[in-house]
């Protein structure tokens, strides 16, 4: 049925065009033969085709355009006719003899155009007459097109300032009056369209109406083009009249479109100077009008205007643009209680953008906006509207983008309060945005207060917010987020140790609330940050003020101890162990033996109680050995205890090769090159021998289990240790011992049961080459090596 309707319409349009063309043909003939009477007759008949009610606006427009073209020719003819001596006044009367009103008025407008041009009557009188006579068309579509025609033919004939039609009697006031009146009538017709016809076609009508809206809007455009409309006239006449019409028409579509139109066609400067009036209209609009979009566009324009030149900024201040906008938004929200929260946020978001552009120095304004937003959001709980959430993100991102500096945003007390209304997912997104902004701009956040504020902002990442279901969080995303938090923690820095310590405490406070999942990400950067501070303090002169200073390495270490301890809840024993060792090393550098010892103790406890995985044990024991080896702070007793323990752990590893390697590594604990008091050659040898025993045992076990001996790698490794200590001058490492080890290895390699291992062979070969090389070096080393026979 709809298809039929469309087809019918096509048919009617075709018929209309045919009728129009036929009469246009006769009209042309009459024009060619200067036959005025026939020209009028056929042009009226031609225009009668526009009387149809059967076409949709879209199709009607097509017909109208054809008629429009024909009327141009007729207008030319009228012009020539007056040149030939026909009185324009007579012509003006003559066309009014037409019986049908629509053709009559089209002809009248056409002659009227010539009449104005002839200047035989003041332009304003003709214009006034035309715009009055057009009232006869009350059919919305036909009326709109007719008046659009009038607007079209008159737009270059308005008595504007500087126009040739301006005179003593004709002023720009008349021009404005004319356009305003035409606009008012057109808008009335346009609005009326909505109310006519059956209710079931409401949507169709709305669509048709929006096709016609530019006909109405064109009047505003014409107004904006009139030179003589200066600020005063705009303020006193033009704007109030337009707004009166807009408000009174009580039509959603018209109000939305026209408000937008006003904002788009008139200069920003005018808007700024008439903000009161313009904004005053908004609360009076229908509750369903999409005010947020319009108002947002206004603010956007004003923002751009402010950005265009610094010269205009005083104007903004002078008219108190911000206050006015802020008030207006408040009133609009009040007037439209049903406005969705999205609208509210969009409005505030635009206002914020505006104030950031116009008053970058007035942070209090920005904070006010956010505060108003918070008030509106309060009591509504978390936002569930997706778009609204996005809008909030935009709102919150605006200050970041503007200032490129989170520090400024941190001064906005309402900023975090707005964030509270985001769902946790978005909250995280926002937090990530903030962190990225910091990273990108390398923002220096240097006080504990700011850190406090910052962590308040990004708390979505720092801790679990209510109602988050952990299983829904993607593991990778989570890692990504937490990694960015760790990066952030490392960026917090202040040269002043006092402040830095405060920062650390603040960060600590926040991250400890983050729950076990986050700690393994957040604790390490904090620990390293703290250690950095320790090193900084350590590099300083002794504090000249004695005990007064509160930040001492000791204090930091206490804190660190407690911090690392929290990892036990995670649990992340390997990580904790590593961190303890790091701390121990730092304590070592600060000559704090008890502290270092305590850290080691913690590490050992962890090793004993928590680290049960054999692979982890291997890693851990090597770490312990490595760290311990570098410690110089310990007295003999403590050191003995710790090394003893370490050796003990090494020997208790599960796999023989691991045991072996750990044990020979322990040998270093007894021989530290640059520490004269740690050169216990005997115990080194003991370790190596023990390692050899274990290697042997490993070989035998392998033989027993698989029928072949394992690789000689372990032996070669031990050989290397021997050589190392030999070279370092450990008296317990003798040539004979090395010699016998070499033989052992050679025998093992030649044994039938040995498994060929190219890597081990190569390792051995290169070890031998090293010996040979050292021999040939000559001097003390060469001499030392000389006895070794390869």
């Amino acid at each position: 049925m709809i298809a039929d309707g469309v087809e019918d319409e096509e048919k009617w349009l075709a018929a209309g065009i045919a009728g129009l063309q036929q009469n246009a043909f006769y009209m042309h003939r009459a024009l060619d033969s200067n036959n005025l009477r026939d020209a009028l007759k056929y042009s009226a008949q031609m225009l009668s085709e526009l009387r149809t009610s059967r076409l949709s606006p879209h199709k009607y427009y097509e017909l109208y355009m054809r008629a429009f073209d024909e009327l141009r020719k007729l207008e030319m003819f009228f012009k020539e006719e007056t040149r030939r001596g026909c009185s324009i006044i007579d012509l003006y009367e003559l066309v009014q003899h037409a019986g049908n009103i629509l053709p009559r008025l089209y002809l009248l407008c056409t002659v009227g155009s010539v009449y104005i041009k002839s200047k035989e009557a003041p332009a304003k009188d003709v214009l006034k007459d035309l715009v009055e006579m057009c009232r006869g068309i009350q059919n919305p579509v036909r009326g709109l097109f007719l008046r659009s025609y009038l607007a079209q033919v008159s737009r270059d004939k308005l008595p504007d300032i500087g126009s040739e039609y301006e005179g003593d009697a004709d002023t720009v006031v008349d021009a404005v009056e004319f356009v305003l009146q035409n606009f008012t009538e057109m808008n009335k017709l346009w609005v009326r369209m909505q109310q006519q016809g059956p209710a079931r076609e409401k949507e169709k009508r709305e669509k048709e109406r929006s096709e016609l809206r530019d006909l109405v809007g064109k009047n505003l455009h014409v107004l904006s083009q009139i030179e003589g409309v200066d600020l005063d006239m705009y303020k006193d006449t033009v704007l109030p009249r337009i707004l009166e019409q807009v408000v009174n028409c009580k039509d959603e579509l018209a109000q939305y479109y026209l408000m937008d139109c006003i904002i788009q066609v008139f200069p920003d400067e005018y808007h700024l100077q008439t903000l009161d009036v313009l904004l005053g209209a908004f609360p009076q609009l229908q509750p369903t009008v999409d005010i947020k979009t319009v108002l947002s566009r206004l603010m956007e324009r004003l923002s751009n205007y402010a950005a265009s030149s610094a010269d205009v900024l005083p104007e903004f201040l002078q008219v108190e643009a911000f206050l006015k906008l802020n008030n207006a938004i408040g009133k609009v929200i009040e007037a439209q209680p049903d406005m969705p929260i999205l609208g509210v946020i969009t409005l505030y978001s635009s206002l914020l953008t505006f104030t950031l552009h116009v008053h970058p120095d007035r942070l209090d304004y920005a904070d006010q906006v956010l505060g108003a937003c918070v008030r509106k959001l309060s009591g509504k709980g978390k936002l569930e509207d997706n778009k609204a959430t996005k809008q909030i993100v935009a709102l919150l991102s605006a200050p970041l983008e503007k200032y490129n500096d989170i520090v400024t945003a941190l001064k906005l007390s309402n900023y975090p309060r707005v964030m509270e209304y985001l769902d946790s997912e978005t909250n995280k997104v926002m937090a990530t945005v903030i962190i990225q902004s910091i990273m990108k701009n390398k923002t220096h956040i240097s006080t504990a207060d700011r850190v406090e504020a910052l962590f308040e902002l990004i708390k979505g990442l720092i801790k679990d917010l209510d109602g988050t279901l952990d299983d829904e969080v993607d593991e990778d995303d989570f890692k990504e987020e937490q990694n960015s938090v760790s990066r952030l923690i490392q960026m917090l820095y202040n040269d002043d140790p006092e402040e830095m310590f405060k920062i650390i405490c603040t960060v600590r406070k926040h991250i400890l609330a983050g729950g076990p999942k986050r700690l393994s990400f957040t604790v390490p950067p904090l620990v390293f940050s703290s250690l950095k501070l320790v090193r900084q303090l350590q590099g300083r002169e002794e504090n000249p003020f004695g005990e007064e200073e509160s930040t001492t390495p000791k204090k930091i270490f206490q804190l660190l101890n407690q911090t690392v301890e929290t990892l036990s809840n995670v649990p992340a024993p390997e990580l904790a162990l590593q961190l303890y060792l790091q701390c121990a090393e730092a304590a070592n550098d600060c000559d704090l033996e008890p502290v270092a010892y305590e850290f080691f103790t913690q590490a050992y406890i962890l090793y004993e109680e928590e680290i049960s995985d054999s692979r982890a044990q291997v890693t851990a024991i090597h770490l312990i050995i490595g760290t311990l080896q570098r410690m110089h702070v310990f007295g003999v007793e403590n050191r003995d205890t710790l090394t003893h323990k370490a050796t003990g752990y090494s020997a208790k590893l599960l796999k023989k090769p691991d045991q072996c390697r750990a044990v020979y590594a322990c040998s270093h604990l007894f021989w530290v090159d640059d520490q004269d008091n740690v050169k216990d050659g005997e115990r080194v040898l003991l370790c190596l021998k023990r390692a050899l025993r274990i290697a042997n045992a490993a070989q035998q076990m392998s033989n027993a289990a698989r029928g072949s001996t394992g690789s000689v790698t372990l032996f070669v490794e031990i050989l290397n240790k021997y050589l190392y200590f030999f070279e370092k001058g450990n008296p317990q490492i003798t040539v004979a011992a090395i010699q016998s080890l070499l033989e052992l290895i050679t025998t093992e390699m030649q044994s039938d049961s040995s498994t060929p291992d190219p890597a081990a062979d190569a390792f051995f070969a290169s070890t031998l080459r090293y010996i040979e090389f050292q021999k040939q070096k000559g001097g003390a080393v060469g001499e030392k090596y000389e006895p070794i026979k390869v």
């Binding site: 009387r51 009367e93 009014q96 003899h97 019986g99 049908n100 009103i101 629509l102 009559r104 009055e132 006579m133 009232r135 006869g136 068309i137 009350q138 059919n139 919305p140 036909r142 009326g143 009326r192 006519q196």
Partner: protein
């Protein structure tokens, strides 16, 4: 066959003879002294042809001459020649009866014989011609000059000359507007206003219609000019109404508060002045009929009489 042809031929010849025999023995020409300069207006004759005739108004002197020209070689014997100025009303339902409301006679010649062309000047001074020439549906009012050559035994020779009379009125001193509120209860209330109640023939009707209440879906609105010609009297009154103009004022459905302008030029329409009472024989009145048509093609109308007068053209 041949004979028959001949007979036909002789018949034709005798017809020619007969025509010649009944032809008046003279030609009569009536002309006005100021015929060349006097305004001529079209007049529709009974046979449907339009001729241009001289235009007079009341109280004018009607001066001219009558030329009688006997056919070559004939003499016209007569009992006297006279010229009459007649104002006649002819009612079509009473065809053949003329009521002469004006009848003036001038004797031009005493009985005698005419041998050659003779010219008789005539003059009717300040002739009272109160009524205008009128060509209506049922009635005609005409002015004629009638020249009669009276003869014995044979019929008189008569010649007519029509002329038109139009009488001009100064603009009325009182010319009130017509203003009225009409409507159908709870349906449609309008107020209309025509700027004047009296219009001259080339006048323009200015006015407006103001919609006070619109509860019906109107389609359009037009203004009609109607002429009501009423002839006879008593039981024999014949009324004829013609719509002379249909002028669309509005297209589409107005809403409350709309005001629609009226501007109707009267010049394109063939109006006459209003004739209130022409010799108790007929009257012609004009009405403006405002018609509103709704979407179901129902017509709502209000008729108002206007007075039309002929304004002296300057």
């Amino acid at each position: 066959m041949l004979g028959k042809l001949l007979i036909q031929d002789s018949t034709k010849a005798s017809w020619n003879y007969l025509v010649g025999a009944f032809k008046p023995p003279c030609n009569i020409f009536i002309s006005f002294a100021d015929g060349r300069s006097r305004k001529q207006v079209p007049l529709k004759k009974e046979n449907g042809k339009t001729v241009m005739v001289a235009l007079f108004q009341s109280q004018e002197n009607i001066v001219g001459e009558v030329v009688i020209e006997p056919i070559q070689g004939k003499k016209v014997e007569h009992n006297g020649v006279k010229i009459e100025l007649l104002g006649q009303i002819e009612l079509y339902f009473d065809r053949g009866n003329f009521y002469d409301f004006t009848s003036l006679v001038r004797e031009l010649d005493v009985p005698g014989e005419l041998y050659e062309r003779k010219t008789y000047p005539f003059e009717f001074s300040t002739v009272e011609m109160p009524y205008e020439s009128y060509n209506g549906v049922n009635v005609r009012l005409r002015y004629i000059l009638k020249v009669t050559i009276s003869r014995n035994y044979v019929s008189n020779i008569v010649e007519y000359q029509d002329f038109v009379v139009r009488n001009y009125t100064p603009p009325p001193s009182i010319n009130n507007s017509i203003k009225m509120e009409v409507g159908i209860e709870d349906c449609l209330h309008i107020e209309f206003e025509y700027s004047k109640s009296k219009y001259h023939l080339k006048d323009v009707i200015i006015g407006k219609i103001y919609f006070l209440l619109v509860r019906i879906k109107l389609k359009n609105m037009e203004l009609e000019i109607r002429r009501r010609e009423s002839t006879g009297s008593g039981p024999n009154t014949y009324v004829e109404t013609e719509t002379l103009a249909k002028f669309e004022l509005m297209d589409g459905a107005p809403v409350r508060g709309e005001s629609i302008p009226i501007r109707l030029f009267l010049s394109p329409y063939e109006l006459t002045p209003t004739y209130r009472n022409i010799n108790n024989k007929f009257c012609v009145k004009y009405y403006l009929n405002l018609v509103l048509v709704d979407e179901e093609d129902r017509r709502y109308f209000k008729q108002q009489e206007i007075t039309v007068y002929r304004l002296l053209e300057t």
